[in-house]
């Protein structure tokens, strides 16, 4: 069965970014250029945080607008990005209402969660979890 990275309770998020750093560490790098999960404040730190990550939609709007079929539908929900087919037109970024199709400034290509769950254990406050769809 397909899994996705679920945001269980964003009110518990403290904005530590441990999940963001875990995602890039998955590739053996430091920094944040390759992160596929993004945390930002909900209008200032006093208002708490918002966790942005692909929800593995059943009918993904990002795949619908890709001109080169670089976004394949994953069985059970969500997408798989094939960077070698991607021409970096940006349609998918605009199509995702959550901003979950992120952009890598170093490769100049989009990037999206691959539903691996590597980040989840690095959240000390149970904000995120890898769940069956």
């Amino acid at each position: 069965m397909a899994k996705r990275l679920s945001v269980l309770d964003h009110e518990r998020c403290v904005g530590c970014q441990s999940c963001m750093f875990a995602c890039t560490r998955r590739l053996g790098e430091g920094g944040l250029a390759s992160s596929c999960i993004w945390v930002h404040s909900a209008g200032g730190i006093r208002r708490g945080f918002v966790v942005v990550v692909c929800r593995a939609c059943a009918d993904p709007p990002c795949a619908r607008v890709c001109p080169t079929d670089a976004l394949h539908l994953r069985e059970g929900g969500g997408v798989r990005l094939r960077p070698e087919l991607c021409i970096a037109c940006g349609n998918c970024v605009a199509a995702c209402p959550f901003g979950a199709m992120l952009w890598n400034d170093e490769t100049d290509k989009p990037q999206v969660c691959i539903y691996c769950g590597y980040c989840a254990p690095y959240c000390p406050y149970d904000v995120i979890a890898l769940e069956e769809l």
Binding site: R25, E29, G30, A33, S34, G44, Y122
Partner: protein, 584 residues
């Protein structure tokens, strides 16, 4: 250093000539690692002897280190400058998002030179540096509003840092802060005034670089080890739960909590302002600095009614910690939590260092009570311990400065006492207002000998506490040696740059492992050498600018109010200070 590590890049910004450029300074980081080690070297390069701290020759240096962006709790930026408050070394540390933003913007340090002829703010967005007109922001009454405007106007939400000054910095109060994000600060020694003197209202830094590691396979398990230690260790537990506010009751128990301008070491209302009470009745949210899973920032939710509108409220989120609670609570005799929180909030609105402000107001209250000053000086305010609304009004006047007295207060308690008297109860060390511990001789010697005159330089309070618990006594030479050793090691930690709360996690062994992955193959001897040399350089800078530890005034009050570990006499302290200087 790793060949593609952007740490080596130093961004120079010249406010006078309105230009910026980058230089490759691997030499700096290979010698000094980062943070404090690099900052002091840049300060030596950039700051001419005798420079006016509020003049264009005083540089602003912000530096991070190799572990930032790679390991947890490596989340702080070190600011170096000549302090307008003490007239010598200015060094201040802040977290928030500043360190990660600076590192991932692709730099190891930023150097700001000169001064602007009009209010501006800077945006550092990766390789791009923008100068923006801040004249519409200058003079805004609340630093919160300035933050909101910049947040909405500039892009990069999530990994950007918004550093701004409030009215206090604009007015060059010598203990004005630079606020990071909200709730974190370059707090002490007046970086805010230096920003203000350059008409630099804010600095926004954003970046999303990747960072290389020396060994991709080893990186994950080493990170895991440090992460587990940081989140599971009992050492860090206190910061998770009650936060630093948990110190209030234990200090009060042993009579080490400075109360009413250190007239006493315990406060009858300590329970009311304790970390336990605040957590039970006010804690509304906990947040973290970037890349720190500990989340020690505690925000109290406070409802405030509008006085002339029934049933009209606002809810404010106010950051609290041990030092603000001491400075606006026990030090001012304030036992009502709403009053205390509103004082903390006002300090944030104005951009004032809450610690120095509390000590300044405590001195002013005692001076007022003794008749050294009258309502003529205080612009009609009858300062009294426990009277929070009057203190808020006084805080506003430290910034607006309607009388010469408030102008003097705006330069610290040492300056004010020199003009109006009352030096015996002016609680400053090396011109720097006292932190919230009165545990015995070691804590005060730490304030006196520490390069930043901070409790964090060498944590003398900890030495007092362990000595007391073992039932031992300390000699002047023993204290000096212990403080020197601790302060040297902390130079290493603040060069990496890790948050000092993680000092128990980042042992020598862990530091070396992490540094190796960051491309620095150092040994324990290298670290020891860095620590000793950095401290020596910092003290050389102080001496160069006229500082002489032997001449530093010791406020008599610390000898009059009993401490849990007794302080013999001034001669004892001076002997320790001489021993410290000799040991450097």
């Amino acid at each position: 250093m790793l060949p593609d590590d952007p740490l080596r890049r130093v961004l120079y910004i010249d406010l006078t000539r309105r230009r910026s450029w980058t230089e490759e300074r691997a030499d700096l980081f290979e010698a000094g690692l980062g943070g404090t080690g690099v900052g002091i070297r840049l300060l030596e390069e950039e700051c001419p002897p005798g420079a006016d701290p509020l003049g264009p020759q005083n540089p602003i240096i912000l530096s991070v280190g190799p572990l930032v962006g790679l390991f947890p709790l490596a989340s702080k930026t070190v600011a170096m400058f000549k302090s307008p408050h003490t007239g010598n070394l200015g060094e201040s540390h802040a977290g928030g998002r500043s360190a990660v933003a600076l590192r991932l913007a692709g730099y190891g340090a930023i150097v700001i030179r000169g001064a602007s002829t009009m209010p501006i703010y800077l945006v550092v967005d990766g390789d791009h540096v923008h100068f923006r007109d801040a004249s519409a922001l200058w003079g805004m009454s609340s630093s919160f509003t300035v933050g909101t405007v910049l947040r909405n106007r500039e892009s990069g939400s999530g990994t950007r840092s918004i550093l701004r000054i409030g009215r206090a910095g604009e007015r060059q109060v010598t203990y004005a802060t630079v606020i990071a994000e909200t709730y974190r600060h370059f707090g002490r020694l007046g970086l805010g005034a230096v920003f203000g003197s350059k008409q630099l209202k804010a600095l926004v830094i954003a970046g999303r670089h990747s960072l290389p590691v020396a060994d991709r396979k080893l990186y994950r398990p080493v990170y895991e080890e440090i992460f587990q230690a940081a989140t599971q260790s009992p050492l860090m537990k206190k910061y998770h739960e009650l936060g630093t506010a948990m110190n209030i009751l234990p200090l009060n128990e042993v009579r080490a909590l400075p109360t009413r301008n250190l007239q006493a070491g315990s406060f009858e209302h300590a329970e009311a302002i304790s970390g336990e009470r605040l957590a039970a009745e006010y804690l509304g949210r906990r947040v973290a600095c970037a890349h720190c899973p500990v989340a020690c920032i505690h925000l109290a939710a406070l409802r405030t009614p509008y006085p002339h509108d029934q049933y009209f409220y606002k809810t404010s989120m106010i950051g609290y910690d041990h030092e603000p609670i001491y400075a606006t609570g026990s030090m001012l005799g304030i036992g009502d939590v709403p009053g205390m929180l509103r004082l903390m909030d006002e300090a944030e609105v104005q951009g004032l260092d809450v610690m120095s402000t509390g000590v300044v107001l405590a001195w002013a209250t005692e001076a007022f009570q003794r008749g050294l000053i009258t309502t003529k000086e205080t612009d009609g305010l009858a300062l009294a311990f426990g009277d929070a609304p009057t203190y808020i009004a006084a805080m506003q006047r430290i910034v607006s400065q309607p009388t010469e007295f408030y102008q003097a207060l705006g330069r610290g308690v040492e300056h004010a006492a020199a003009l109006y008297g009352g030096a015996e109860f002016a609680l400053a060390f090396g011109r720097h207002e006292m932190p919230g511990y009165h545990t015995g001789p070691a804590c005060h010697l730490g304030y006196l000998t520490g390069a930043r005159h901070s409790h964090l330089d060498s944590a003398g309070y900890h030495l007092d506490q362990t000595t007391a618990s073992k039932g031992e006594t300390l000699t002047p030479e023993g204290i000096a040696a212990a403080l020197l050793q601790e302060e040297r090691w902390r130079q290493v930690l603040t060069s990496l740059v890790i948050c000092l709360f993680a000092r128990g996690v980042y042992t020598t062994e862990t530091v070396l492992k992490a540094l190796a992955l960051a491309g620095f193959n150092w040994t324990a001897d290298d670290l020891a050498r860095l620590g000793a040399e950095t401290l020596k350089r910092k003290n050389a800078f102080k001496t160069r600018e006229g500082f002489d530890l032997a001449q530093v005034r010791i406020p008599r009050r610390i000898l009059e109010t009993p401490a849990p570990l007794s302080i013999p006499d001034e001669a004892f302290l001076r002997q320790a200070m001489a021993s410290f200087t000799a040991g450097l």
